[in-house]
C-alpha cells in the first residue's frame, strides 16, 4: 500500500505504524468507566470506509488521520491528525 503523507508525499506503507480505528474519541477521565471502556475496546470494524490512525514513524513522525476502504485497501483521504477540529 502507498500512503500519501501530507508532509512527505506518496510513501510505502512499511514506513508507517498502524494504530487502528480512529473513530472513538478519548473521553474526559471523569466521564466514567463505560465511556473509557468504549474508547479503549469499542470498535466498529466496518467492511468499507474506515477512519484510522497511522504514524509516519520512519519519516516526519506525523500522526495521520486516514480513511481507508477495508475491502479494497484504497485510501480515500489522508490528513494530519493534529489539524482535526481546527
Amino acid at each position: 500500500m502507498i500512503i500519501s503523507c501530507p508532509h512527505c508525499g506518496p510513501r510505502d506503507s512499511s514506513e508507517f505504524y498502524f494504530r487502528g480505528e480512529a473513530t472513538p474519541t478519548r473521553p474526559e477521565y471523569d466521564a466514567g468507566t463505560a465511556a473509557a471502556t468504549g474508547y479503549v475496546y469499542g470498535r466498529i470494524n466496518p467492511a468499507g470506509p474506515q477512519k484510522e490512525h497511522w504514524y509516519h514513524a520512519a519519516a516526519c513522525r506525523s500522526w495521520l488521520l486516514v480513511e481507508r476502504d477495508t475491502r479494497t485497501h484504497k485510501f480515500l483521504s489522508v490528513t494530519l491528525a493534529s489539524e482535526q477540529g481546527r
Partner: protein
C-alpha cells in the same frame, strides 16, 4: 537421437554437455532441459506424487506438472524445477524425483495398487485410529511414499539482490500482444518496463510458424526487440517472473540473473528480487492449453499439443516418431500440420467435436474420442468413433488440444474473481483493479491478428483513457472436454494425482464448492498451482452436476504465481545483515576491556567484562556488582530512550503522560515516573528531569524507546493538539554513563572540579546542565543500583572520550566497568522492576506503586486503572523470593504454588519474573508476582518449573532485599 536435421532457434555450433541421473548427455545452446531430454529420447522423467506413476514431459513452460527435477547437488540442490523452463548450460546436473531406485523402475509404484487408500481426503479418513500411530507411523510413511523433491537442509550458499523499479507502464509478457503494447506505448513516449519469463522475447511466436507483417514471427519479434532496446525509456527484463500483484499498483518479480550460467557465478547474485510500482500494467500473459480428461491421459508420450509445436519449431526436436492429436479446437490441426512438416508420421487427428473442424491431406481426421492409452510410455491409443467403431492406433506421441484458458490469475491476487465467458468457454477477467488490464490471449483474443490488435488497443487506452479503439472480441471455443472413463485413471491435476473419480467422490461427500473441492482433493494445490488442470477439474464437477460453469466458478489464485526461493525474498537481509546493528558510544572501549555483548533490541550491550581469574560469566557479574557496592563502577546506559519535551505546556503534557505529578517538579530535579497505557496497565517507567521552567528530558526503558516516542506524539498530535509543547527523541544524541558506588562522588568531582557535588548542593535526584572539558554535559543524581550514583551525559561523539577519562581517573578509586548482568543483580537486590517484570499485564498496584496514581489530574490510563479488577487486592503482586535452602538456584519463569498444592496450571498463584545471584547475600534471590503477595511475607511456598523439572521451597519476602531504608543512595 530425435533432433530434427534443420530448423529451430538453437545454436548447433554450441554444443552443451549436461548430466541427467548421472548420464552425460549433450544439447545445444538455446535448449531447455526438456528439449534436450526429448532429443535423447528420454520419455520417463520422474514419478508422480501419490501413485508413483511414470511421467514424462507434458508442457513447454512454467505450467509443467510432471517433469520436475532436482537441479545441482549439495547445498545448491534445488528441488521441483520444471524441466521445460530450465535453460541448458554446461555442467548442468539434474536428477529425477520421487522414485527409487530409478524413474524407469520404481519400487514405490506399489502405491498405484493401493490407490483405493489414496483417494480424495485420504489424509482425513484413513489412518485416523489409533491416534498415537499417526505421528509415529502413518505420517512418516506417507510422507516418504508421497512427495516431491527434497531440500538439502544446508544453508543457501548463493547471494541474492534486490531492486526497485518505477514505470509508467508495466507490460507482462512479450508475446505478440505484449510486444505490440510495448511498441505502441514506447512510441507514445511512455516509460515502459517489459517483463518476460523466457530467455528471449516472442512468446508463442517462437513456437509457431506464423508470419507478421510479411516476415516470420520470430524475425518480427527480433525487430520489435531491437526497436525497444534502442529506446532509452524502455527497460526489458528477460528471465524474470512476475509472481505477485499487490495493492496500489505494486508488483513483485524475480529475475534469474545467473541460474542459467555454468558453475556458481562468482561476483553475481543468483537472483534479483524486483519491487515494481507501475502507473498502469498490461498483462499479456497469454493462455495455457488445457488437457483433455480421458483414460491414461498421464502416460509418458501424451503431451499438450502446444508443447509438441514448441519442441518441433523452437527446439527442432521430435517428441515421437508416430503421432496422433486429440483435439477440441482448430489449433490441433495446426500442430498436426507442423508435425507433418517436420517429417513426423501423423497417424490421425481425433476431433471430439461432433462437427470436425477440417480435413487433412496427410492424415485421417476422426470424429470421436480417445478412451484409453497403452504402454509404459505410450505405444497405442484406443479411439471410439462417434459412428460406432472402436480402433486401436499405434502411436508413441499424442497431443492434447483441449482449448485455452487465459492466464488471469494475477487479477485475483487483488481479490477480483474471473467470470465464465460462454462463447470463449473459459474464465475471463471482466472486473479489474484500477491500472490493470489484460491483453491478447490473456484477454481471450486467441488468434494472432486479434492478439496484436488487442495489445495495441490496451496501450492506446493507457495513453488516452477515452481511446476510440474498438474493443477486441473474444474467440469462440469448445467446452473443456471430459471422456467417460472405462477402467483407466483419468487425471485432471497431474502433479497431485487428482483424478476425475476423486472429484466425483468429493461431490458425493458434499465438497461441492470449488474452494472445498480444492482442499479436499488437493486439486490445484501442488507447486504448479493447478495451471494446467484446475479448470478442467471444475468442468468435471459442473458436467457431473449438470450445472453451468458460471455456477461452479473457479478458485482465487494467490501469490506467488510461480514458486519463489526464500533466499530471493530475503535478499541481503540474512545472517548479521538481517537487522541493523546499533552500537553504544562506548562499544570500542567495552570490546577492548573484555566485554561480551548481548542483543537488546537492535543494540549490542556489554553483558559482562571478563577479567583474568573470573571462573565464568556469573563470577564476572558478581565481581562487578560487588565493586559497585564497595567502590565505584561505570556502565553505559545510552540505550535508554531519551526524549526532550519543551514548551509553555510541557509540564501539563507530562502530567497527562505520567500517572504521577510532574508539573510540581522543581527546576534542577529528577523524579521517577510511571506511564500507563490507556487500558490502565503499566506501559513504561523512567525518569523526568526538569532542566528549566519549560524544558524537560525524560528517559524510557531501552525496549520502549520507540513506543514511548510514538505515544508522546499521539498525545501531542491527536489527543491534545492544542497543548503548546514539542517533543523530540534525543536517544542518539547523548552518550549516558552511570557512575555508581560509594566512591562515585569522588570520581566525578575529579572529572568535574568546577561543580560542587557535595550532598548539600547536589542531593539525591539532583539534575544539572554544565560543561565538561568545554563540551555540553548533563549530570543527574539517579540510582538504579541503590548506591550513591550519578548518570552523566555528553554528546554522543564524546562518549568514548568520557568513558576512557572516567576509567583513567577511577583507577585511584577501584573503578570497575560493569555490564547488564551486574546491573540486573544490583536492581533485583533493590527490588527495582525492569523488562521481565513489566510484561504488560501488571498494574501500578501490582508493583506496590498504587499510591503514585495521582487523583488530582487526568492522565492516560487513569479511568481504566480504577476498574475494580485492576485494584483487587487478590491480584498477583510484586514480592521478593529467596530459597529456604540458600544453596539452591532459582530459575525465572518458575510458577509459584501454595505449599502442598498440586503443580498444575489451575493451582499456579504467580510466577518468578527475575532472578539473580546476589553477592551481598551469597545466594540466589528473585522477584516475582504472587496472589495476595504483599500480605504473605514470611510464608514458605514452592517455586516449580515443570519444564526444567525443578521444585524449590522459597520464602516470600519484601522485594527490596538490600538497604530498604535507602540510606546509601542518599549518602
Amino acid at each position: 537421437m530425435t533432433r530434427l536435421p534443420a530448423g529451430g532457434l538453437i545454436d548447433r555450433g554450441k554444443p552443451i554437455a549436461f548430466r541427467f541421473n548421472g548420464r552425460t548427455l549433450t544439447g545445444f545452446s538455446g535448449d531447455t532441459l526438456a528439449s534436450a531430454l526429448i532429443a535423447h529420447d528420454v520419455k520417463i522423467v520422474g514419478r508422480s506424487f501419490k501413485y508413483h506413476r511414470a511421467r514424462g514431459i507434458l508442457t513447454d513452460g512454467i505450467d509443467e506438472p510432471n517433469a520436475l527435477v532436482t537441479l545441482g547437488s549439495g547445498a545448491r540442490a534445488e528441488p521441483n524445477c520444471r524441466a521445460p523452463s530450465v535453460e541448458l548450460f554446461d555442467g548442468l546436473e539434474a536428477y529425477s524425483q520421487n522414485c527409487w531406485p530409478s524413474p524407469n523402475f520404481d519400487l514405490m509404484a506399489i502405491n498405484g495398487l493401493l490407490s483405493r487408500i489414496f483417494v480424495a481426503g485420504f489424509y482425513y479418513k484413513t489412518f485416523m485410529w489409533p491416534a498415537a500411530l499417526w505421528e509415529k507411523l502413518y505420517e512418516p510413511l506417507i510422507r516418504r511414499a508421497a512427495g516431491l523433491g527434497r531440500l538439502s537442509g544446508d544453508p543457501d550458499p548463493d547471494t541474492y539482490d534486490r531492486s526497485h523499479a518505477f514505470t509508467d507502464l508495466l507490460v507482462v509478457g512479450s508475446g505478440p500482444a505484449g510486444l505490440s503494447a510495448a511498441l505502441c506505448a514506447a512510441r507514445g513516449g511512455l516509460r515502459v518496463l517489459l517483463i518476460e519469463n523466457d530467455s528471449r522475447v516472442g512468446g508463442r511466436l517462437l513456437s509457431q510458424r506464423y508470419k507478421v507483417d510479411g516476415e516470420l514471427g520470430t524475425a518480427w519479434a527480433d525487430a520489435a526487440l531491437k526497436e525497444l532496446v534502442a529506446n532509452e525509456r524502455v527497460t526489458i527484463l528477460t528471465r524474470t517472473s512476475l509472481f505477485g500483484a499487490y495493492d496500489d499498483k505494486s508488483f513483485a518479480a524475480v529475475e534469474r540473473v545467473s541460474d542459467h550460467l555454468p558453475g556458481a557465478a562468482i561476483g553475481r547474485p543468483r537472483q534479483r528480487y524486483w519491487k515494481i510500482v507501475a502507473a498502469q500494467a498490461i498483462f499479456a500473459t497469454g493462455a495455457t492449453e488445457r488437457p483433455i480428461a480421458f483414460g491414461g491421459n498421464d502416460r509418458p508420450g501424451v503431451m499438450m499439443a502446444s508443447a509438441i509445436q514448441t519442441y518441433i519449431n523452437r527446439y527442432a526436436v521430435a517428441p515421437g516418431k508416430r503421432a496422433a492429436i486429440f483435439t477440441v479446437c482448430d489449433t490441433g490441426y495446426e500442430v498436426a500440420a507442423d508435425l507433418a512438416a517436420a517429417g513426423v508420421d501423423v497417424a490421425a487427428v481425433i476431433d471430439a467435436r461432433r462437427q470436425p473442424g477440417r480435413s487433412l491431406a496427410f492424415a485421417p481426421a476422426i470424429s470421436g474420442e480417445i478412451v484409453r492409452t497403452f504402454g509404459k510410455s505410450l505405444t497405442a491409443i484406443e479411439v471410439r468413433r462417434y459412428d460406432g467403431g472402436v480402433e486401436r492406433i499405434a502411436v508413441d506421441l499424442l497431443g492434447m488440444a483441449g482449448g485455452w484458458n487465459p492466464n488471469i490469475g494475477f487479477a485475483s491476487h487483488l481479490g477480483n474473481r474471473p467470470d465464465w465467458n460462454e462463447s470463449l468457454q473459459a474464465f475471463r477477467q471482466e472486473k479489474l483493479s484500477d491500472g490493470m488490464m489484460f491483453a491478447g490471449a490473456a484477454d481471450g483474443a486467441l488468434t494472432l491478428t486479434d492478439a496484436l490488435a488487442s495489445g495495441e488497443a490496451a496501450a492506446a487506452r493507457v495513453m488516452s483513457p477515452a481511446s476510440s479503439m474498438p474493443p477486441i472480441g473474444t474467440s469462440a471455443q469448445a467446452s473443456p472436454h471430459v471422456v467417460r472413463a472405462i477402467g483407466q485413471k483419468v487425471f485432471v491435476d497431474f502433479q497431485h494425482d487428482v483424478t476425475v473419480e476423486d472429484i466425483l467422490l468429493a461431490d458425493r461427500e458434499g465438497y461441492r464448492s470449488v474452494e472445498h473441492l480444492k482442499r479436499y482433493t488437493t486439486l490445484g494445490m501442488a507447486t504448479d498451482q493447478g495451471k494446467a488442470g484446475q479448470v478442467l477439474g471444475h468442468a468435471v464437477l459442473a458436467q457431473h452436476r449438470g450445472v453451468e460453469m458460471a455456477a461452479v466458478g473457479t478458485i482465487a489464485a494467490r501469490p506467488p504465481h510461480t514458486p519463489v526461493a526464500i533466499g530471493a525474498l530475503a535478499g541481503m537481509h540474512r545472517g548479521e545483515h538481517l537487522k541493523p546493528v546499533r552500537l553504544t558510544p562506548t562499544h570500542c572501549w567495552a570490546a577492548e576491556n573484555g566485554a561480551s555483548f548481548v542483543n537488546a533490541g537492535l543494540w549490542k550491550r556489554a553483558q559482562w567484562f571478563t577479567r583474568a581469574g573470573d571462573a565464568d560469566w556469573l563470577a564476572s557479574a558478581v565481581r562487578e556488582a560487588k565493586a559497585v557496592r564497595s567502590a565505584v563502577g561505570i556502565c553505559d546506559v545510552s540505550t535508554l530512550g531519551k526524549i526532550e519535551v519543551e514548551g509553555p505546556d510541557a509540564a501539563l503534557l507530562l502530567d497527562r503522560l505520567y500517572a504521577n505529578m510532574m508539573s510540581t517538579l522543581p527546576v534542577g530535579k529528577c523524579r521517577y515516573g510511571l506511564m500507563l497505557r490507556e487500558d490502565g496497565f503499566v506501559f513504561d517507567d523512567g525518569t523526568v528531569a526538569r532542566l528549566d521552567e519549560s524544558r524537560y528530558v525524560i528517559t524510557t526503558t531501552t525496549v520502549n524507546a520507540v513506543a514511548v516516542m510514538r505515544h508522546v506524539d499521539f498525545a501531542l498530535q491527536v489527543i491534545w493538539p492544542d497543548l503548546r509543547a514539542h517533543a523530540c527523541s534525543v536517544t542518539e544524541s547523548w552518550a549516558q554513563i552511570a557512575v555508581a558506588g560509594p566512591q562515585s562522588r569522588a570520581l566525578l568531582q575529579d572529572l568535574l572540579p568546577d561543580i560542587d557535588l557535595s550532598n548539600e548542593t547536589f542531593p539525591f535526584m539532583g539534575a544539572v546542565a554544565g560543561t565538561w572539558d568545554g563540551i555540553p554535559m548533563r549530570l543527574f543524581r539517579l540510582s538504579f543500583s541503590g548506591e550513591l550514583a550519578y548518570e552523566i551525559a555528553v554528546p554522543t561523539n564524546h562518549g568514548d572520550a568520557l568513558v576512557r577519562t572516567l576509567a583513567r581517573l577511577g583507577q585511584t578509586y577501584g573503578c570497575t566497568p560493569y555490564g547488564l548482568e551486574a546491573l540486573g543483580i544490583l536492581r533485583i537486590e533493590k527490588g527495582h522492576v525492569a523488562g521481565g517484570d513489566l510484561n504488560g499485564q501488571v498494574t501500578a498496584h501490582d508493583l506496590g506503586l498504587g499510591r503514585m496514581l495521582s487523583r488530582k489530574k487526568d492522565f492516560i490510563g487513569r479511568a481504566m486503572a480504577e476498574r475494580p479488577m485492576l485494584v483487587d487486592p487478590g491480584r498477583q503482586a510484586l514480592v521478593g523470593l529467596k530459597p529456604v535452602d540458600p544453596t539452591q538456584r532459582l530459575s525465572a519463569g518458575s510458577h509459584l504454588f501454595r505449599s502442598g498444592a498440586a503443580h498444575v496450571a489451575g493451582e499456579s498463584q504467580g510466577h518468578v519474573t527475575s532472578v539473580a545471584y546476589s553477592g551481598v547475600f551469597d545466594q540466589w534471590i528473585a522477584l516475582g508476582v504472587l496472589a495476595h503477595g504483599p500480605q504473605r511475607i514470611g510464608e514458605v511456598i514452592v517455586a516449580a518449573s515443570p519444564m526444567r523439572g525443578t521444585r524449590i521451597e522459597v520464602e516470600v519476602c519484601n522485594p527490596v532485599f538490600f538497604d530498604a531504608a535507602g540510606e546509601r543512595l542518599r549518602a
